[in-house]
């Protein structure tokens, strides 16, 4: 094993868990909202469908966070993904909402 620092020390695990649970929650909400904008259906239906899909996103994000090499990489990845999502949201947001 090439890792010198063990990734299962308490602080690292805590950091990764917070990234997964809270960071993942934020990202999955952003992605699901983006999906609701992009789906070609009436708003009611696209929001309803995106809500139902959001948990799949959340699950995949959590699994990804726990499979990368370090907690730092996980945080970085999440932040980048959130940033891209926010940009996407801004671009895709329909005029009528908010």
């Amino acid at each position: 094993m090439s890792n010198i620092k063990s990734q299962t020390g308490l602080l690292r695990v805590l950091s990764r868990s917070i990234a997964a649970i809270i960071g993942g929650y934020v990202l999955s909400n952003l992605l699901a909202t983006l999906t609701s904008y992009l789906l070609p259906m009436p708003t009611v239906d696209s929001v309803l469908l995106s809500l139902q899909l959001s948990f799949l996103f959340y699950c995949m994000i959590i699994i990804w966070v726990f499979s990368v090499k370090t907690a730092a990489k996980a945080w970085l990845g999440l932040l980048i993904a959130c940033a891209i999502s926010v940009v996407g949201l801004y671009l895709a947001m329909p005029e009528s909402s908010l």
Binding site: A32, V44, S54, F55
Partner: protein, 519 residues
């Protein structure tokens, strides 16, 4: 993380499964019990008349409307639930007028006399089942959030479990008893893998059920933070077919009995589940009629009549507004989760699958402790918290069913006119569970974990085995009379309690045997 993808997923599986395992066990047990909520309520209110074979629904409707006219002439809504399917009594419901407070009330009807039956106040099976998504003693929204979080942990545990199970097909159907750790792993696999369709469905649909509370960001994205717009969105999702607008102009509303000829010409006789008159005394009154048979997994057919003219406004068999794909997905998931459509055989299968889920969680909890204990015996070093876990597992796993038995005992022992008896039945459940959790920890110095398992199992066994006896002593119903009268719900409950008692007893015996061979 450390090591390969599989190793990381193994770590994730262990911890996402273990961290909230007690709560998940509670959710699974109360949810599983909930599939028989109506049957449990029937047992918990023995004052209810024995199930009537004679079910002339026109007669019942006439009696019910007369009864409602006497006790709730000013109510804004009247509903009658017929004794058919899983409804074991005729029940009248009414909603008081807004001036009187707008509260919903109900009475069980004695079909011989047309009078109300005085039934004891109890949460019954419904409250036991509601704890499954609300927990208890905490605000509704907090309950939704905690349950959603648990469901997410469960979903991760399921997915990672599937990922890491290398020999999932080769080890299908495998259970090797009497091999210590290997046997526990085998049985954990049996409870997890065989019901995979159920576990995946129940967990994901559970998440979907609560999604309006748990993923608000998506709603905010299209409807802003205005609460009214949110509520409008949710309402439009659950929009009901063609009901006339609310109109508070006073008007003479008809009697539901007048509609029976038309209903019977469309659907036949004695097939109604419910009939209800909403907006009584106003121009916006309408009557909803529901068929008792389910169409596939969805709710049965429905008719809506104008409450003044009696004109048919809506017939679900003729309407052709197809649901959108999103709505269809939502309805399918929630219908599957609730299983309202399930007949008796399928309902027992749901129950068995739920028990296997609870078993999956329990064996997972025990497997962790057993593995760590064997490791500590080999290496001489004990994991932190291992003793805590060993002395709390039995309180959680056996303690909860034990507490549920005490809930049933409380139902018979608490006097009928005791204030707040409904709350005290529930309190006795949680007080018992609390004692079962704390006692082993307090007795840890004196007793080994195995002996404490035996004590709790024996106690649970006794409580369950004696329930039918308690039933006979404290009510006019008992197992024998129920069988003779054909009241299979009452009899079924007592028989199930006996079987559960025997199971706990058998488990206790096996552990006693194991302890003897160890010495």
């Amino acid at each position: 993380m450390n090591g390969t993808f599989r190793q990381s997923m193994n770590w994730l599986h262990t911890w996402s499964g273990l961290l909230l395992s007690s709560l998940l066990y509670f959710i699974f047990i109360t949810g599983t019990v909930g599939y028989f909520d109506k049957e449990i309520t029937h047992w918990m209110q023995p004052e209810r008349p024995a199930i009537d074979e004679n079910i002339d629904q026109r007669n019942i409707l006439k009696m019910a409307e007369q009864h409602l006219n006497t006790i709730a002439p000013d109510a804004q809504s009247w509903w009658i639930e017929f004794p058919i399917g899983r409804s074991y009594s005729a029940v009248t419901w009414w909603q008081e007028s807004d001036e009187q407070g707008g509260k919903w009330k109900s009475n069980t009807l004695n079909l011989q006399t047309g009078e109300a039956v005085i039934t004891r106040e109890t949460g019954g099976g419904k409250t036991l089942y509601a704890m499954h998504y609300l927990l208890h003693y905490i605000p509704k929204t907090l309950g939704y959030w905690i349950t959603s979080l648990c469901a997410m942990f469960m979903f991760i545990a399921l997915i990672t479990g599937i990922i890491v199970h290398k020999k999932i097909f080769k080890e299908f159907f495998t259970f090797r008893p009497n091999k210590k750790q290997r046997s526990w792993l085998d049985i954990h696999n049996v409870f997890s893998v065989l019901p995979i369709p159920f576990h995946l469905m129940i967990t994901y649909s559970g998440l979907v059920f609560l999604m309006f509370s748990s993923m608000p960001g998506v709603i905010v994205g299209s409807y802003g933070t205005n609460m009214e717009k949110h509520n409008a969105f949710v309402e439009s999702v659950f929009q009901k077919p063609a009901h006339p607008e609310h109109n508070h102009e006073p008007a003479n509303t008809l009697s539901m009995l007048d509609l029976m000829p038309d209903i019977e010409s469309r659907w036949g006789e004695n097939i109604l589940h419910e009939i209800g008159l909403e907006g009584r005394g106003t121009a916006g009154a309408h009557v909803q009629v529901k068929h008792h048979e389910y169409s596939g997994i969805s709710d049965g057919e429905e008719l809506v009549y104008h409450g003044i003219t009696g004109e048919l406004l809506f017939d679900s068999m003729k309407e052709s507004h197809p649901q959108s794909a999103s709505k269809k997905l939502y309805t399918v998931l929630t219908d599957l989760h609730e299983g309202n459509f399930a007949g008796i055989a399928l309902r027992w299968l749901y129950f068995i699958s739920g028990l296997m889920g609870a078993g999956m969680i329990a064996t997972g909890m025990m497997l962790w402790a057993i593995k760590r204990r064997e490791k500590s015996q080999r290496t001489g070093k004990e994991s932190t918290g291992l003793q805590w876990v060993e002395y709390s597992n039995m309180g959680i796993i056996v303690g909860l069913p034990l507490a549920i038995a005490v809930y049933f005992w409380a139902n018979r022992i608490i006097p009928i006119d005791f204030a707040n008896r409904e709350n005290w039945e529930i309190n006795s459940l949680f007080i018992t569970w609390g004692i079962m959790l704390i006692a082993p920890l307090a007795l840890a110095k004196k007793y080994s974990p195995l002996s404490l398992w035996i004590k709790q199992l024996v106690l649970a066994s006794a409580l369950y085995l004696l329930l039918p006896v308690l039933n006979a002593i404290t009510s006019d119903k008992n197992l024998v009379s129920a069988i003779l009268q054909g009241d299979w719900v009452m009899a079924g409950f007592d028989i199930t309690m006996i079987l559960l008692g025997l199971s706990f007893g058998y488990a206790a015996r096996r552990i006693i045997k194991e302890m003897k061979t160890k010495e």
